[in-house]
């Protein structure tokens, strides 16, 4: 049995840990087992041989890794659910061991930031109104963890209170403000509020679901102007319901991952194959924190990668381009 601590062990390589987790999940996750069998994949010796499960599986099935004869009951498990309108099939990610998610969030943030130096503000719905959101769970945990009492969920549709900003600054801590891309933009459009220079504004995505069309660069420029901080202090987080780890872009356009998470860019026509550096493809994620679901995921997002593993998210992959008549300059 793999213990959760194993995920974060520093004396083992990512590859060693991933291969062991692959074997564990291939054996004890029925959906992943059937998937691997159909691809005729048995024992593996390197990362390239591990198949990535399409992310839709979290909508179409229960993705759970549990030892045979485990005593859990699925109906008793806490779960995260993706947002969506009624009638839509939504992803469901069961949380067998919340401590793993907690550890992954804290260690992941610590990898990129001096977490204890920050007061956390979240311009998002609160935990009570959205208990199945993995993002809100994460923010709630970060807020509760901060002993200063200054971290909190902000009231929606209300501009930032300058005296509260002042109070946070006087505490000697820096401010980290989380929010969805266009939620943050609404906030500065309500009222521009100057934040202290060292503040970080953390955009958590949501570019594709909003009424406005805007490039990420334009959005970050407007946020920097609205909050009176340098562009380099507008950061992004890449996370989703189906992952228990997050990638961060600490200024600029490239995301990095914590040591127990690895991103590759896959050929949509052959997801077992990585595309060449700099080519567009589907973002593939190996997230070892998904120990009790599936750690090997093929997302529906389009991305590119540079050497060193850093990557950019270029929006959703559009499957409509894949079939039928389509005149293409370079092929026709």
């Amino acid at each position: 049995m793999i213990k959760p601590d194993f995920i974060f062990k520093e004396d083992l390589t990512f590859e060693d840990k991933a291969i062991r987790i692959f074997e564990f999940q291939r054996e004890h996750n029925p959906a992943y087992q059937r998937f691997c069998e159909a691809l005729e994949i048995g024992e593996v010796h390197d990362l390239d041989q591990i198949p990535l499960l399409p992310i839709k599986a979290f909508k179409d099935s229960d993705i759970i890794t549990a030892k045979d004869h485990s005593e859990f009951k699925i109906e008793d498990l806490e779960f995260f659910q993706s947002s969506g309108t009624s009638g839509m099939v939504r992803s469901r990610h069961y949380l067998m061991d919340p401590e793993i998610y907690r550890q992954s969030i804290i260690r992941g943030m610590q990898y990129f930031y001096d977490l204890d130096d920050f007061v956390i503000w979240a311009y998002t719905p609160g935990y009570s109104s959205n208990p199945n959101s993995s993002l809100i769970w994460m923010l709630n945990m970060l807020i509760e963890r901060d002993g200063s009492g200054l971290s909190r969920f902000l009231e929606l549709n209300k501009p930032l209170d300058e005296s509260e900003v002042q109070k946070a600054t006087e505490s000697g801590k820096k401010l980290m403000l989380f929010g969805a891309a266009f939620g943050l933009l609404d906030l500065v459009e309500m009222k521009e509020t100057e934040l202290p220079d060292e503040s970080i504004v953390m955009e958590t995505g949501g570019m594709k679901t909003h009424r406005r069309e805007m490039s990420r660069e334009e959005l970050h420029r407007r946020l920097a102007n609205g909050f009176g901080i340098p562009m380099s202090n507008i950061h992004s987080e890449y996370g989703m319901t189906e992952l228990l780890s997050q990638a961060y872009n600490p200024g600029g356009y490239w995301f990095g991952t914590p040591p127990w998470m690895k991103v590759t860019i896959r050929n949509p026509k052959n997801p077992m194959e990585e595309v060449k550096i700099g080519e567009e493809g589907l973002i593939g994620v190996m997230d070892l924190a998904n120990l009790y679901s599936c750690s090997f995921i093929l997302t529906g997002d389009k991305g590119i990668q540079v050497g060193g593993g850093k990557f950019q998210v270029l929006g959703r992959w559009n499957p409509q381009n894949l079939r039928g008549c389509n005149f293409l300059i370079d092929r026709d």
Binding site: A31, Y32, R34, F35, C36, E37, A38, L39, P51, L53, P54, K56, A57, D60, S61, P268, K269, N270, P271, M272, E273, N318, P319, Q320, N321, L322, R323, G324, C325, N326, F327, L328, I329, R331, D332
Partner: protein
Amino acid sequence: MQRITKISQTLKNWLNPKNPVLQKAIQQTVEEGLFSMEDVEFQLNVLRENVENGEIQEWIKRAGLNDRQNAKGEKVLCLHAGNLPLVGFQTALGVILSGAGYYGKLSRKDPYLLGSFLKEMQNLKLDQQIKFSTDLNAFQQLNADAVVFAGSETSVPQVKNKISKLKAALKEANYIIRTAKFSIAYLDEWNEQVKCELTEAMLRYGGKGCRSVALVVAKFELDEVKEELLSEMQEFWEKNPQHQKPQPELKYQYAYNKGIQRNQLWLEDFLIQETDEFPETNFTVNWVRGDEEKVRSLRMNFGNVVQSVYTTGAEINGLKTEPLSKAQKPPLWWKPDGVDVVRILLKSIDN
């Protein structure tokens, strides 16, 4: 309309199986592995039947084309994709019939068949320009009045940009862009004829092309007809071996279906799966149990990527339908994306 008679006769001559020009084009196409002999012959036979049935005259009547109402003097640039043999033929013929100048960028994947027809048209010395090339750069400074091509959300800006750089079309040119990707079949009965028509509609040309069925709505489950369908498909492939093999993504999809325990019919080179999702990949047909209401709702959800809805005779309220038997044997005047190319050229010029 002497011109039309000349075009019609020349087309008939070109389609003659003994025509050495056509024979050479077929040979080159097959020898270079562009398409299979069976698919090429099938397409040519459909065209032969169309012409024999007097469909050129019928098309002209339907489009309202005559000596006073035509597109003479206009320049139309056609960019032909090459996913099935002679896929651009109907557009090319339509433009020529309309009287407009035809400027065709032929696909490098299908240059011989359409090329040989266009050469015959050039030899007719009609009172209109007929030019073609496999190189888009050949149309630099053309300043066309209209551009016709099949595109998708991501390819359209790239194509428009290239055309603009080359000044191949006027800034205010009318762009006729085809976005349809696949068709839907509604089955309310199952018998030998339906089985045979459905197989042809799904498998001909490897299921490529917007008239191919990629989504089946049936009053019954896939399981109920799986065995019969399988043997019909195998029989089809014996006579028409599948020319292109799918990419590994197809096996990946099969494995995914296994993972989530989705019902499917896996044939190594083709996949039928029970889902009402958008049919994303080539060589895949999605099958869903449903009634007419389901067809209407899917047609609405998928919008302009759906070319046609076929039935085996049933009418579906509020939807235009075609017979399933016509999926791969459309009349000459069929409307890609619901648009008659001759009629739209006349209209755009009137405006």
